[in-house]
């Protein structure tokens, strides 16, 4: 995805699983091809991310999509896989989280 020079549009941007996978791989799985990372691959059980990793991903969602995941949603289960991260981000965007 290309960089966005302008402020985020007023409607929630579509959160892309490819984009999440690319970030997870770059940040936590050096050397892995993002295309190999299945949306349902369990990132917690395989110790790709831990609670600190959850925070890093939340920070990235805020930077990239201007989506703030509320504290109550910052549970590891909500970040268990690329798919789960997308749902979490979408829920947050639909609620009060989106700035």
């Amino acid at each position: 995805m290309s960089a966005q020079p302008h402020p985020a549009p007023p409607t929630a941007p579509a959160v892309s699983e490819d984009d999440i996978a690319a970030f997870v791989v770059e940040r936590f799985l050096p050397g892995v091809d993002a295309a190999e990372l299945d949306a349902e691959y369990d990132l917690l059980a395989t110790a790709v991310i831990d609670s600190l990793g959850v925070l890093r991903i939340a920070e990235w969602l805020a930077d990239r999509y201007r989506i703030v995941v509320p504290d109550t949603e910052l549970t590891s289960r909500n970040f268990r896989s690329v798919g789960a991260i997308r749902s979490t981000a979408e829920r947050a965007a639909a609620g009060e989280g989106h700035v």
Binding site: A3, V32, A45, T46, L52, E59, R64
Partner: protein, 505 residues
């Protein structure tokens, strides 16, 4: 004492002079010939090292002459310090000094060598007096630990300890005149107490592997076949090479006993052994330089083999305890450090304090000195023991005790993984983070994600390496064939920046 392993060797030379003692390249050296070489070496040792109370340093590569020099020095009743010839000059010099060596002998001129001994010299007498009588507790061999962290420790072994060990080894593995035993280990290695010194004390034939060719699978296989080797003891690498060499060849029907030593045997290597050695009995050997063999497990080949192999039963005369975190001996299942006392053990280190590693234990047999093995043992419901790893390999990752060796074992069990090293790197947040470096049988045959999944199904999350790296080249090895984890750790220390967090855009 009445007879030592050295006097037993001399008796074989007298009663069976033509019997083969050593095989080296395409030479066969008979007992009488080896004895004659040892007598000439002995005379030269006695001249070069007149003070019998001081140890003699030896520095040499493996060869029949080296075997003769060791025998000659022992026949002279000398203590001999035998470090690896690959030890660099500076630490080697320090070691000879710490041992109090009066002189350092070798077979060819070189650094640190005060005098060259020639076991073939014509002027020397090929006969001579019988081996000097020695007391049971007189020191003969002074072996050294591998020194993976700093200067090697000097481990003196008495003539009595080694003689008792050779009696056990010969009986257990049926070493008698005519038995051919492969010697893979370098001559300074404790495994030689079985391969070389037991074999010579009991009239067998030692088939010496040239360490320079020790990585050649075809060479090793030829030695085993051509010389009808019946006992093979070695590190997993040796067996891995023999399995590789067997591809497309007849099975090796000759060997009767395979003894696994030094490192835990990966399941994949064991699986290969089934077809290569159809007749052999398999033994998992547990011991160390300080105590020598202390446990032995014979693998039941008829049943599914699980790794890590158990260490089995204590040898006759061995006492042991597993001491838990509270400092008391376990009486039931649990985990803790294994403490052992063997009839073959050293009295303590020569060059470093021994108190930390040797001492009585309140829950042990009164009066016995136990060696703190540094190995974490699991005592199972049925009383059997298996080794989880070295205490040195136990690290804390996010508060969990993790054995990097155990993680290596899990990765090695994956069919696509040929070699695995897991090292712990200090981490300010997690305590340690684990880095795995793997070599795959076929590059790209398994991905990092699948390997992580494989680990997740088999161990706790803290034990799953933070980084799993696959490489194409063989992993670095030490001179004894073990994976050189220190070198891997050093290579990562320089490259750690590449795993640093990258900024998100």
């Amino acid at each position: 004492m009445t007879g030592t392993f050295v006097t037993r060797f001399a008796q074989h030379a007298a009663t069976r002079p033509a019997a083969p003692a050593l095989v080296w390249e395409d030479r066969t050296i008979g007992y009488a010939e080896l004895y004659a070489m040892a007598c000439r070496a002995r005379a030269q040792v006695e001249t070069a090292a007149p003070d019998a109370s001081r140890p003699v340093g030896l520095r040499m590569r493996k060869s029949p002459e080296a075997v003769a020099l060791v025998l000659g020095a022992l026949m002279a009743g000398r203590r001999i310090l035998l470090p690896s010839h690959e030890l660099p000059d500076t630490p080697a010099k320090e070691l000879y000094e710490q041992a109090g060596c009066g002189v350092v002998l070798g077979l060819a001129a070189g650094p640190l060598i005060d005098q060259v001994v020639d076991p073939h010299t014509v002027s020397g007498s090929a006969g001579g007096p019988p081996p000097t009588p020695v007391a049971d507790d007189a020191i003969g061999f002074m072996l050294t630990t591998s020194g993976s962290t700093g200067l090697p420790k000097i481990v003196p072994l008495s003539f009595g300890a080694v003689t008792r060990f050779t009696a056990w080894g010969a009986e257990t593995f049926g070493i008698t005149p005519g038995t051919a035993v492969l010697n893979y280990a370098p001559l300074n290695f404790d495994l030689c107490l079985l391969d070389v010194w037991t074999t010579l004390a009991y009239g067998g034939t030692v088939v010496l592997v040239d360490p320079d060719r020790g990585a050649s699978a075809g060479y090793l296989r030829d030695l085993v076949v051509d010389h009808r080797v019946s006992l093979i003891q070695g590190v997993p690498l040796l067996f891995q090479l023999l399995v590789e060499a067997a591809a497309g060849e007849e099975p090796l029907a000759g060997p009767e006993h395979l003894v696994f030593a030094g490192d835990s045997m990966p399941a994949r290597v064991l699986a290969g052994l089934f077809t290569v050695f159809p007749k052999a009995r398999w033994y998992n050997n547990y011991g160390c330089t300080e105590t020598n063999n202390s446990f032995l497990h014979e693998v039941d080949r008829a049943r599914p083999v699980r790794t890590p192999l158990p260490i089995g039963r204590p040898l006759p005369g061995v006492s042991w305890l597993v001491v838990g975190g509270n400092g008391r001996a376990l009486t039931g299942p649990g985990q803790g450090e294994l403490l052992v006392n063997t009839p073959f053990q050293t009295t303590g280190y020569t060059n470093v304090p021994s108190e930390e590693k040797f001492g009585p234990h309140p829950d042990g047999v009164p009066g016995l000195v136990y060696y703190h093995s540094g190995d974490i043992a699991t005592r199972h419901e049925d009383g059997s023991l298996s080794i989880l790893g070295r205490t040195d390999f136990m690290v804390k990752v996010r508060g969990f005790q993790v054995s990097t060796q155990q993680v290596e074992g899990i990765l090695l069990d994956h069919p696509a993984v040929v070699e695995a090293a897991v090292v712990a790197i200090p981490d300010p947040v997690a305590g340690h983070r684990l880095h795995a470096r793997l070599r795959l049988a076929e590059p790209g045959s398994v991905g990092v994600l699948a390997l992580r999944q494989y680990c997740a199904e088999r161990t706790v999350r803290a034990a799953i390496p933070g980084v799993i790296e696959t490489v194409a080249d063989p992993l670095p090895r030490t001179s004894t064939g073990k994976i050189d984890r220190n070198r891997i750790r050093e290579s990562l220390a320089g490259a750690s920046i590449s795993h640093a967090p990258r900024g998100s855009s």
